[in-house]
Symmetry: C5
Subunit: 309 residues, 5 copies
Amino acid sequence: MLLKENIPISYIAGKIKKEILFVTIYAVAIAVLYNSFHFTRISIPIAVPTILGTVISLLLAFKSNQAYDRWWEARTIWGAIVNDSRTLTRQLLTFVDTHMGSAEERAFCERMAKRQIAWCYSLSRHLRKQDPLHGLEKYISGKELDYVSRYSNVPMALLELHGEDLRNAFKLGWINEYQQVEMDKTLTRFSNEMGGCERIKNTIFPATYSVYIHFSLIMFIMLLPFGLIEFFGIVEVPLVIAISCSFFLIQKMAIHLQDPFENKPTDTPTSTISQTIERDIKQMLKETYHHENKQASGSLEGAKVFYIL
Amino acid sequence: MLLKENIPISYIAGKIKKEILFVTIYAVAIAVLYNSFHFTRISIPIAVPTILGTVISLLLAFKSNQAYDRWWEARTIWGAIVNDSRTLTRQLLTFVDTHMGSAEERAFCERMAKRQIAWCYSLSRHLRKQDPLHGLEKYISGKELDYVSRYSNVPMALLELHGEDLRNAFKLGWINEYQQVEMDKTLTRFSNEMGGCERIKNTIFPATYSVYIHFSLIMFIMLLPFGLIEFFGIVEVPLVIAISCSFFLIQKMAIHLQDPFENKPTDTPTSTISQTIERDIKQMLKETYHHENKQASGSLEGAKVFYIL
Amino acid sequence: MLLKENIPISYIAGKIKKEILFVTIYAVAIAVLYNSFHFTRISIPIAVPTILGTVISLLLAFKSNQAYDRWWEARTIWGAIVNDSRTLTRQLLTFVDTHMGSAEERAFCERMAKRQIAWCYSLSRHLRKQDPLHGLEKYISGKELDYVSRYSNVPMALLELHGEDLRNAFKLGWINEYQQVEMDKTLTRFSNEMGGCERIKNTIFPATYSVYIHFSLIMFIMLLPFGLIEFFGIVEVPLVIAISCSFFLIQKMAIHLQDPFENKPTDTPTSTISQTIERDIKQMLKETYHHENKQASGSLEGAKVFYIL
Amino acid sequence: MLLKENIPISYIAGKIKKEILFVTIYAVAIAVLYNSFHFTRISIPIAVPTILGTVISLLLAFKSNQAYDRWWEARTIWGAIVNDSRTLTRQLLTFVDTHMGSAEERAFCERMAKRQIAWCYSLSRHLRKQDPLHGLEKYISGKELDYVSRYSNVPMALLELHGEDLRNAFKLGWINEYQQVEMDKTLTRFSNEMGGCERIKNTIFPATYSVYIHFSLIMFIMLLPFGLIEFFGIVEVPLVIAISCSFFLIQKMAIHLQDPFENKPTDTPTSTISQTIERDIKQMLKETYHHENKQASGSLEGAKVFYIL
Amino acid sequence: MLLKENIPISYIAGKIKKEILFVTIYAVAIAVLYNSFHFTRISIPIAVPTILGTVISLLLAFKSNQAYDRWWEARTIWGAIVNDSRTLTRQLLTFVDTHMGSAEERAFCERMAKRQIAWCYSLSRHLRKQDPLHGLEKYISGKELDYVSRYSNVPMALLELHGEDLRNAFKLGWINEYQQVEMDKTLTRFSNEMGGCERIKNTIFPATYSVYIHFSLIMFIMLLPFGLIEFFGIVEVPLVIAISCSFFLIQKMAIHLQDPFENKPTDTPTSTISQTIERDIKQMLKETYHHENKQASGSLEGAKVFYIL
């Protein structure tokens, strides 16, 4: 969905411009102090910042790992949502006799499948703290829209409607008892996927680690010029900037990765995934899929440009 | 649930104030000894504490990883409890004919759903070694409260009542045989989740690792001033304090993370999660949810402030 | 499937020849500058590139790990496709009464089994962005080929046909209701496997990590000659080339591993696996398996030679 | 179950007293050689043992990780045994009509539940290579005891009796066909848990790693005094002892952790867990639980003191 | 199954004798060059090989981890085969009425159980590329042996026969429809386990990593004497040998571990495990188990001696 593009240096630099500014001023100040006032005693052995560098590397590796795992788990859950949405639709079409069945049976299948599309969109918006009802009117009836709007958790209400439709289908003999239980398991999986997303969304990474890493990083950067000045003189300035940029970039990216549902460009692309689900379900329903591509491709364009940090 | 806030330096410092005090006295003593009595021979190459620093870093990374895994597993289990509580309620509402069914059927569904809320609260208190019966009278009848109070494991007794209610519902024909087995699987998942929490609660992290890390850390900090004194003189004091604070903080946080059910602010927020479950279940039952927000938001406020270390 | 062979040095060198060229020119230039113009002040302590080397090592280890995990997950999914294809065939042959059943029942089993072969081939081509319909005419009827060609996701359409055939078999009494549900679970697993492959295919590794690693690597290689020149003189040149080759090779391999469906020789060998599935299914159907071995062994030969980076 | 206590230094020292003795003699010998005979040429740069130290740290981290994973897997399996024992009992009590059923039905439930207690105790002893029949007479009849004593794998025989009782219950109409299959799944889980424990018990950690780590460690300790003697003189002795103790302790603990069923104090507390299971099952059966607390609490006391290394 | 024994140094040395020889010659040559011709300029700072040492350590840790994971996964799969073989036998004995059933029913159970033993042995030999039909005549009839010999994948053919027997049993009313589906799930697990073993067997570890690690290792060892010669003189020779042995041993063991089905002594002990399965199944069938212990214990003896690298 997201393409590998060359990332403009300016974009990356923009993410940490405040940090670069401070580091530059600091490094220049040290160099000036050293050269102009001959404070040569301030030079320290490079081994001192090295100890800190090793510790920070290990901690950043730890944090990157956990952040990546959260991000990948979020992505895996949305992959499972794609799979289960297709499975639900296939079960509807093959458990219910859609070929020779009554018009009501066909309507039931279509209603369920479209509500599933609605569920994906509303879950996506629910996780980003946006209005989860936005745009649902295309997929569910006004009565249902009214019903779900009374819940604080809209996707959960949609699953409840799924369950009620299944009960009716069972009562009317459109599906048998095994099929009801089997499709209820699919609903349970949706419930678990929704809960998994909420868990990732609502659990913050232990704050002390973040604070401590930041604090050690600042100490490390403050010591670095003293360790380099003896050998490099004024050349110390670009070196300090380059090294500290690297560390700041990694730290920043870990912070971004660990919250994959924050409506930022680095998010799990839940809207794009929801559109794929809509396309697949509509093709299975033999409907032509004319999505308003303007908005969609617009956000995709944006993704191409911004999906970096 | 828990918000990212700026953490006051004073709070962090408070967690390790004893350690800071000792380290300060020690570092100052070494500096005084070095400067006043010219014990210059005590200076050692910085490489010696560096070896220890590397080893400790690796061990702390190992311990942080395991502690984080325990904490994240505890969080995942409680996430699964949310999912399965919703699933149980959905199954009740869609397997039993709550629309056209008898009043008894509706009462059965409500009784089960409320008992599920009670189960969450009592599990939360059971794990924290608090009275697991506290507050249950709002959700279950006096007779049931009486029954479960005879058990040493209250949540297990509640699950047993769940099972008995399911048997009766099956006997009375409210659910069919597949649905009974399917809902029994949901009870089995609750049983596994309860057991998973107890396992994390009751298994201590291998004590020798903790002891050894602490012991190496002290040795490292005791050697550090000797390695720094030659280059820094009295400046060695803040450096030693800063470096040792970092290590102590990481160690402390790993200790906190590895026990997520100890009724400390860093715990898995089981009470908050239980309240979410109560809200969701009550909305599915079409009940208005008027939780005593005072107490709830109070503890949430506390969480905002204390959820750091 | 893929054999361990000696890898010609020339092949490996070919992968990074551009990088080698630049590094050589750069290292020679530094050496000439140092020796001819006696710019001895440019020598720096080896500890400076060492810090960067440690950080890069940790980051490359992190990236190699994640890349390897993606590659192994892709391989595991295709392993599961093999297992489930065999399972589906076994279920067909043992649930349906193929021995004493009607010719229609036998035809149904054969049609399903062959469509399963088609599914594997088309999924393989779908993931590589090749024409997913290529060669399917050997396994499915013209009518079905026509039907699936209307879908943007051909493998999904094939699964839908699977589901419809199962419904008919159930209606006609060839399989009972439990067996229908059980085989539907097998279809669900295929759906999950397809979705898993698409997830790996469509999710790019966070781009900033890659950019940052590349950027640090270049900085490290630019500093390296200055650190080595004092001790080695002109011998610095081969050392710098050797060390930088190592880092470039690891980086390159991680990039290759992380995208296992890109139609490159390092891909998951999906075509070879599909042929194994075809052979196994045909043997179970008691058909003789005469695959056009020329093409197959040709691509295998190619694999022997190219499966290195 | 196991409490965090202060660990007496003497206990820890006892675990590695032989190693400490050798290291002390060796370090003192080097110091005497250096000081008395002025063999100053034997001093080597500290960087040499540092290389080895890094390698050993990485290998010990690797080994600690794998050992911890085995230990935690063993603990998780026993946690699952607790869960499934409770689940089995709940299924017995709610699938069979114990309230209004015949005395035979109640006897069947009680027999199964008590046999489950027996299974836990005998599995615990089986894994520790103790007599698995010891104490079973309290939970199963003499006839059954006789039967299982003919098997080399007693817990497996108990599961077989479980299965036979379920068949009879199904034949007599006490449980229906779905319930039989569902409870058979619970037996399958017990079978998997037993097999998992046996796998951990019977698979040794690759021996070469252990040998190699030991060998590198000895080399490292032998080089260490030479690296430290120049700067520390006689102070080298306590330093070498302290550093080598650390490494020996970690190594020792990893060895202990990786074999969690060896009847040592660091084992997975299988007896204590079995007692918990007994208590829970008996409460569910409404029996009073009067375990011989003397023996139990005795072993628990022991655990408090010895559960360290 | 495999015992921890003292490993003779000579055995370990034998595994890397070629490497030791080359390293010795090389190290001696450098020492002679240095001492006799006074090429003192060739000494380099120890920091240069240290950089490489760190990188190689990280890469070896990465490789050891992946290799160990493959080995442990292979072991876990065979553990699952043990569990599921017992489960299949228990299901046969308790689903079919073996006590009061006809002789045919008992014969069916015995035939299935013995075929399961045959499946384990033939899978073990199939994975090692040995004749998978060897010795099967003891467990299956001549007719079945004839049938399976027509397949390229013998274990798969045996599973097919399992499936056919289950169909017949269902047709004849020996098992009901739920039991057939439940036992089919057990067959599916066998299918997955077989596929898992084949996946591990047929997927090679990315070759470039191996080549690169080997290449870096050689470079590291070639630089090492130059770094040590200044301080150690001729003592450099044993040091270089010792350090390089360590690295070669770890590399070698990772290579061995990553291919656990190559008919080498370090393999997963599939024959021994198959014998355990045979013993357990025969005891459940009430057969006396007289395995030809000579051959078995012979191979076990061998294992005791060779299971090291």
